[in-house]
Symmetry: C2
Subunit: 501 residues, 2 copies
């Protein structure tokens, strides 16, 4: 008997978030929706994560309208979103009734599956959002962020799965955004979870492809009983993105597992995005092969380049090796937090400061908040000496309650501030948009009537505008052209303005 393995395609959200900085215009996704909807996916991830931010910051597009459009265009398939627990889609903790309202409105506008995660894996940052999803009758997926550290073991993740099931989640997601999940741990964790919480609890595995090993991990996760896996249509796959949907489907042929996704429709979707993709060249990730050093350094590639540029700005580019050795120490001192956004930036920046100015001589506000408990509970207790310095530096006391418990009710204030803005349409949705992005919502409300932007460009136009040495159109050396000045034709040697060799 062959067992059905379901697929969630992330091409409408995480794929373009990972590969072209979340810049895909809605009008470039719409033509693929019918085929995607008919292909037989368990769900289509299409909202949340950074899409909300990108919509109002870059695309002049109402994210709520995007959600309603997807719902209309995907009538047969579950829509799915990524929700940052108590952070919603913003970058701070929100008071509980804001969380409730956001979830209600997302469900009302068309969201079916809520993948809820917390960067610290602190279940207290998930409870309110999960309860809110349950109340709407929609699917609440509790998420475990996968990480590797001296204190994280298979049992750690199994225990978290139990906690999530006790919260009443409809399924469990193992989320591996850094492509750290190797085949054997994938097998052990999925098997352990199934044995511990029951074979009937759906286990959904989300991996990125950065390190090149994770399609194998999906195979082992499936062998261990995983019910649903995340992939992306090949046109937008690999590198820091995800494993290709087509490869996953083909991989299972002849095994005791099968999918029900229609490959011919997947090929149609692929052809569409292959046509669109060159228009987003300027946003494209430059990684074309695998990046495996993260297994050694534990440091995601994006964090590495951040740290390098911080050091170089200070004229200390030669200190990179010291910083690489400092990161694990800082991470341990901070309580072995997963190194994902935002904890990766917080730990990385503090490591840079420690190397440049001596250990914890200067502490960022964010790092102090992290060790003082303001982001939530860390995997282990932070180093008491570092906590003491954080208290002094931030003039704050450590907390051990759920961070959101420290927040005052804030809805009324947010609502009246939002409604005072030019262009607010009077809806709860608009107030939620303002709540999450108070800096950019005012500008967006004003410019919204102009309609959504498409930042994609005719690939040939890059030749005419670019001054980047890696781009077409760039002249590294002088070059001969035929130039007309009035009626005269001349052969002239031409170089870039102010440049050339």
């Amino acid at each position: 008997m062959s067992r059905l393995v379901e697929i969630t395609d992330v091409i409408l959200r995480d794929a373009h978030q990972s590969l072209i900085a979340t810049r895909m215009a809605m009008e470039d996704m719409i033509p693929a929706c019918e085929d995607l909807d008919n292909a037989g996916y368990w769900s289509l991830e299409c909202w949340g994560g950074a899409t909300f931010d990108s919509c109002i910051r870059f695309l002049n597009e109402d994210p709520w309208e995007r959600l309603r459009t997807f719902k209309k265009l995907l009538p047969k398939t579950r829509t799915q979103m990524l929700l940052r627990g108590q952070n919603l889609l913003g970058y701070r903790h929100y008071e509980d009734t804001v969380v409730d309202r956001f979830v209600e409105k997302a469900a009302e506008n068309g969201m079916d599956v809520f993948r809820v995660f917390d960067a610290l894996n602190d279940p207290r940052n998930l409870t309110r959002a999960i309860a809110a999803v349950k109340r709407t009758g929609k699917h609440a997926q509790g998420t475990i962020c996968y990480t590797i550290s001296p204190v994280h073991s298979t049992q750690t993740f199994i225990d978290m799965a139990k906690t999530l099931v006790d919260m009443g989640v409809d399924s469990i997601c193992i989320k591996d955004m850094a492509a750290l999940l190797k085949p054997q741990p994938a097998y052990d964790i999925v098997k352990g979870i199934k044995e511990s919480v029951g074979q009937d609890v759906l286990v959904h595995v989300h991996v990125h492809s950065t390190t090149g090993v994770t399609l194998v991990s999906l195979m082992k996760a499936i062998e261990a009983g995983a019910d649903i896996v995340d992939t992306s249509v090949s046109a937008m796959s690999l590198g820091p993105g995800h494993n290709p949907t087509e490869s996953l489907i083909e991989m299972l042929e002849g095994t005791p597992y099968h999918t029900k996704v229609n490959l011919d429709l997947v090929y149609k979707v692929r052809d569409h995005f292959n046509k669109i993709k060159p228009r987003y060249q300027e946003f494209m990730s430059e990684v074309t092969t695998v990046e495996t050093e993260i297994f050694k350094s534990q440091i995601p590639g994006g964090m590495l380049s951040n740290m390098e540029s911080q050091l170089k700005q200070q004229g200390q580019g030669d200190k990179m090796k010291e910083v690489l050795l400092e990161v694990p120490r800082v991470r341990a001192a901070a309580g072995n937090v997963p190194l994902v956004t935002p904890s990766s930036q917080i730990v990385g920046t503090q490591a840079v400061f420690n190397v440049m100015m001596g250990p914890y001589q200067v502490m960022t506000g964010e790092f102090a908040d992290l060790v003082l408990g303001y982001y939530g509970k860390t995997a282990t207790v932070p180093d008491p000496d570092v906590v003491a310095k954080a208290k002094e530096s931030a003039k704050k006391e450590p907390i051990d309650v759920r961070p959101a418990d420290k927040l005052e009710p804030e809805w009324e204030k947010l609502d009246s501030a939002a409604k005072a803005l030019e262009g607010h349409n009077g809806s709860v949705e608009d107030t939620l948009t303002y709540a999450m992005f108070p800096q950019i919502a005012p500008k967006f409300f004003k410019s919204r009537p102009d309609g959504p932007l498409n930042l994609g460009k005719d690939p040939s136009s890059f030749a005419a505008v670019s001054a980047d040495p890696n781009s077409p159109g760039y002249l590294a050396a002088p070059i001969q052209y035929e130039v007309k000045l009035g009626d005269k034709k001349m052969q002239v040697t031409v170089g870039p303005v102010g440049g050339g060799q």
Copy 2:
């Protein structure tokens, strides 16, 4: 107990053959040799395949000298080559004593492991070369070309493995140049071979990464008992190339298998080739993601684009769909040959002819030879009607003996013809070079004293020379530059010569 899995790295041969058309200059490989040699590989594939052809055709480099250099620079690790059985490294069958001499000289100049294959999997095309390797005391690896067809089953490949073991090979290679080997067949075939010929016979698995599934296939092959696998350092990997060495090593962590390859040295090799790679931009394969339609069409990507351009040249570009349907019919009629070079081109071209001019109205000489047995025995008996037409078209009788049995002794003739050429150095090696490439050897012998070429280019130079719309430096639209004419500076609008929009 963890079992050791050995690795062959193909970065010095098949990787650059697959990714940059075999153009890598020896001087760009030399700096990586010490680290490769110390890394702990089972072998380093570094010669054979298309490298011999490329050396004398494009690089003005003596391939025998390349072999001696590798042997000197890789003292601790087995050198390995790919040998086309009775074809050696050329494109026709050679008489047996030529085969013997080639193998002797390759061994004498430093070759340790001979991977011997035949495109039709006809064992009679392998026997002589394998016997010759055995006489030198070197490692003879018998190769099974993996393919998918209605008549190929797991048992087919197991039977061939038995035949190879009976010939006395030291190991068996499963060679999957089209990335068709899925995980389950990989497992079944390796397991079947081990059970059938004994666990002690080394099984070596070679896969390309084109379809995106084959790292999973390597995992399953290892679980089934594979002893050695082929990978390539990540800098030259993926696409039509191979799975990254780093990913394979990391993939095994925590499993009952391990490698002994030193990752830190692999990273040094990677850094070297990452630096070199941009110099070969103009030869680079454009595939950056996976290509899975070959599973459906059975047609390798290179063959597809060949057929499309053949049709377009005839103004029949709209016939592609018919041709795609014709290919499996032609392949079946030809006896279910594996679709690899040269059989893929032969079958593809005949399919194009059939669609344009009616079935077998015009037959290529190569297709006639194929169905008449001049390449060897096909998997099944070719269609008798097609054979009859081939006899008529080629004015030849079918043969069922080993093709090389029809050849007269040819060494003396080759040797005197070669020695008559300007620049022949009097060696057996030079005569072998001439024997394999009689058209290009004369020119090469003459220009050899000029020394090897490096076709790599400063990446910035591409901008100044290209007129290809897809390349840097191309101006799709007029653009403003600052131009100096004598002492005058002007802002001028410039476009490509004779071009514009």
